[in-house]
């Protein structure tokens, strides 16, 4: 043992503090930030004891030993004297410690022997009215600093054990800087527990409990702060690793001026620059020349400063000059006081997404074009079908019909010249009748294909003629209501309305089972209405614009075509039906037709 013993001191300095020792607990722990605060307290603690005639045992680092001695001398204490009296026994903690250990672990026997001896010697030297010894030990702090937490705790226990057989006041000190790891938490709590138990068992005194509780509370707060700092540090480390590992996003920081401050793997992958090439460079180099000249990079920073963040999509340039479609988010970064400290920038490569979007839009456009051309085609088909019917009807009527008419004329003429008594008169009459039938047949077919009277005499006449034929064919009693002064309508409208009539009456005949039908034709304002009503069984209603899948297919398709035609004319087709009958109403806008009645097409 190499304790530095000095000759005892005879005189007590009059200025020595007298308050500390009385209020101290037996086993106090002191967590300190700085040496100065430790020494402030320690000089009071030790100095007070020595002034009162008590003894002091110091097991500390050489630095602390020297500093403490200096402080004590400053208070006017005659240190040489107290050393000579054996009341001040100072030892280097690192020199004492090996004597207390066996195989790197504290040895209870040796501890009790070595430390116990020192304390007994001090006690016997003490001459105050309490004859006490105060101890300051840094053995534990030394072990702690070496990461030997378990041995440190054992030393604390040994101190407590020693307290049961020896009388002394113990003060330990730990630098708070030694507590920052998660694994420190448990021993730290044990330290607190160890010191409180000793004080309660042996030297509890008035005011000491409260002081101790307060200091423990402060220590626990300090612990929380430490834990928080520790987890922040770990989180930050993990976050840094995470950001750096991200490959699909370029995540980096800019300084206030827009220069690149950090660079992650994703940024390298996306933009092609190594960190060493790009750090410190201005981020505008990621923009195209046009964007740069237009001041876009600077503008985006300005918006980010103003709004907190800015999002943009557009072409950006890689190191090799190639372009990619980027989604960019720039966020202004501010410190706790709100000062701008830079920008966070996240860039993603949206080239594929953008191209897919464009393809989608192109497809949509193509679909619309297709629909439009399909509609045009369907209108064209309707018109061309109408035209064909008209042409075939005309050909039948104007060509074949004329030949047959003239044939009939000649046969009649021949018969009248031959006289009824001629032997061929009967055959001739038959020929004339057959020809007459043929004329009528041609006329009927051609009228069904296209009503010629519609052109020559208008919708009203055409409907009257058609109804006559319809009643004969179907046996359905049909009424026709029409204004007497109905003017001619535009040719398109007349033929469209006529086709609605044909289609509707065909449906009445084929599907409704109605014995009667009613046709009405009127004009209200600038719209012509044609309405066909029956009292049949009704039809399964469906959207006229959608094809049907059952028996009503022909109705659906037919009316659908009509519906198309009416809408082409700026009108519409309405269908209402129930078990009591069906009503089809066609409406078509008509323009002023002042001279139409005198102008057959």
């Amino acid at each position: 043992m190499s304790a530095s013993k000095v000759a005892p001191v005879s005189a007590d300095p009059p200025m020595a503090p007298n308050t500390v020792f009385d209020s101290e607990s037996a086993h106090v722990v002191h967590f300190y930030h700085e040496d100065s605060s430790l020494l402030d307290e320690l000089s009071l603690y030790v100095g007070g004891a020595l002034v009162n005639g008590d003894a002091a045992v110091i097991l500390a680092t050489p630095d602390h030993l020297e500093l403490l001695a200096g402080r004590l001398r400053e208070t006017g204490l005659d240190l040489a004297k107290v050393i000579a009296q054996g009341r001040y026994q100072a030892f280097g903690a690192s020199e004492i410690l090996p004597e207390l250990m066996t195989n790197g672990l504290p040895d209870a026997q040796r501890f009790k022997q070595v430390i116990g001896d020192i304390i007994e010697r001090a006690n016997s030297a003490a001459k105050g009215k309490l004859k006490r010894t105060v101890v300051f030990g840094e053995l534990v702090a030394l072990l702690w600093a070496e990461g030997k937490y378990e041995p440190a705790m054992q030393i604390e226990e040994l101190w407590n054990d020693l307290g049961k057989t020896h009388s002394f006041l113990l003060r330990c000190a730990y630098p708070t800087a030694g507590f920052y790891k998660n694994e420190h938490t448990e021993p730290f709590l044990k330290i607190c527990a160890a010191h409180s138990s000793l004080s309660e068992e042996t030297h509890a005194s008035r005011g000491g409990d409260e002081e101790r509780r307060r200091s423990i509370l402060a220590l626990q707060q300090r612990l929380q702060v430490l834990e928080h700092e520790k987890s922040s540090y770990e989180n930050e480390q993990q976050f840094r690793l995470l950001v750096d590992a991200v490959q699909d996003y370029a995540i980096f920081m800019l300084d206030v001026e827009g220069r690149v401050r950090t660079w992650n793997r994703g940024a390298r992958r996306l933009k092609g620059y190594e960190a060493s090439e790009i750090l410190g460079e201005h981020f505008s180099r990621f923009y195209s020349e046009e964007d740069k000249q237009a001041g876009k990079p600077q503008r985006e920073l300005e918006v980010a400063v103003r709004d907190g963040r800015v999002e943009d999509e557009g072409w950006r340039i890689r190191k090799d000059g190639s372009k990619f479609w980027a989604n960019v988010i720039i966020t202004a970064l501010r410190d706790g006081a709100g000062n701008l400290i830079g920008f966070g920038k996240v860039t993603r490569d949206f080239t594929d997404r953008m191209l897919a979007q464009r393809r989608l839009e192109q497809s949509r456009q193509q679909l619309q074009d297709s629909e439009r051309s399909l509609r045009r085609l369907s209108q064209h088909l309707l018109r061309s079908q109408e035209e064909q019917r008209r042409r075939i009807g005309r050909d039948l009527h104007d060509s074949l019909g004329q030949y047959l008419s003239v044939l009939k004329m000649k046969l009649d003429s021949l018969a009248s010249r031959m006289g009824q008594s001629a032997p061929e008169a009967g055959d001739l009459k038959q020929c004339a009748d057959l020809t007459e039938d043929a004329v009528k047949e041609v006329r009927t077919i051609s009228y069904l294909l296209y009503p010629p009277m519609l052109e020559e005499m208008g919708l009203r006449s055409a409907i009257l003629w058609y109804l006559d034929g319809f009643m004969k064919r179907s046996g359905i009693q049909t009424t026709f209501e029409v204004a007497p002064d109905l003017q001619r309508l535009p040719a398109d409208t007349e033929i469209a309305l006529f086709r609605v009539l044909q289609e509707s009456l065909t449906n009445v005949h084929r599907h409704s089972g109605s014995p009667t039908a009613q046709v009405r034709l009127w004009i209200s304002d600038d719209t012509a209405f044609l309405q066909v009503t029956d009292v049949g069984k009704g039809m399964k209603l469906q959207n006229a614009a959608e094809p049907a899948h059952d028996e009503t297919v022909t109705i659906g398709v037919g009316l659908r075509g009509m519906s198309e035609r009416m809408s082409e004319l700026g009108g519409k087709l309405e269908l209402s039906s129930n078990e009591h009958g069906t009503t089809v109403t066609a409406a078509a806008r008509v323009r002023q037709q002042d001279d139409a009645s005198t102008k057959p097409a």
């Binding site: 003239v406 004329m409 009248s416 004329v439 026709f480």
Partner: protein
């Protein structure tokens, strides 16, 4: 009028030839002053030839026979018009009257009706196969049996 002048207007040569033959046989003293294949030619020939009777087809390329009738009448000449058509309808009689023609004959009934119709018109009368007497009356019955009613505009109905 012993020698009435007749103009035949039809876009079919065969029809014009048939009429000429028919009339030539039935009334050799009648003079077929000319033929026309469409309305415009007919108008020109009416002015030059000043026929007493114009036999006029309805359905022709370009201007129809009904329109041609209106225009011929507007010339203020004495030509009287007989419509000669394949169309058969109750409406025809009214349309024929409306354009100022004196009557109409169906082509298939030419042998029976044509000469008679011309003679009646020449003597100042009119000719039609079945004048539609009922048309225009409320609840009336048309020539071809279609029951139709006249629908009065709302203002008149009240």
């Amino acid at each position: 009028m012993d020698q009435p002048k007749i103009l035949i207007v039809d876009d079919h040569e065969i029809v014009r030839e048939g009429i000429r033959t028919l009339l030539g046989r039935a009334r050799p003293q009648w003079v077929i002053v000319g033929e026309a294949g469409d309305a415009m030619e007919a108008l020109a020939k009416v002015k030059i030839l000043e026929p007493d009777i114009v036999i006029l087809d309805i359905t022709m390329p370009g201007v129809s026979g009904l329109e041609a009738a209106v225009r011929i009448n507007k010339l203020g000449l004495h030509a009287k018009i007989l419509i000669f058509t394949m169309h058969e309808s109750d409406r025809l009689a009214k349309e024929v009257r409306d354009v100022g023609a004196r009557g109409y004959v169906l082509k298939s009934q030419a042998a029976r009706d044509l000469v008679q119709a011309i003679e009646r018109i020449l003597s100042g009368g009119t000719f039609s196969i079945a004048p539609p007497e009922g048309e225009g009356g409320i609840g009336g019955r048309g020539t071809f049996g279609v029951i139709f009613r006249v629908m009065l505009p709302p203002a008149w109905a009240s």
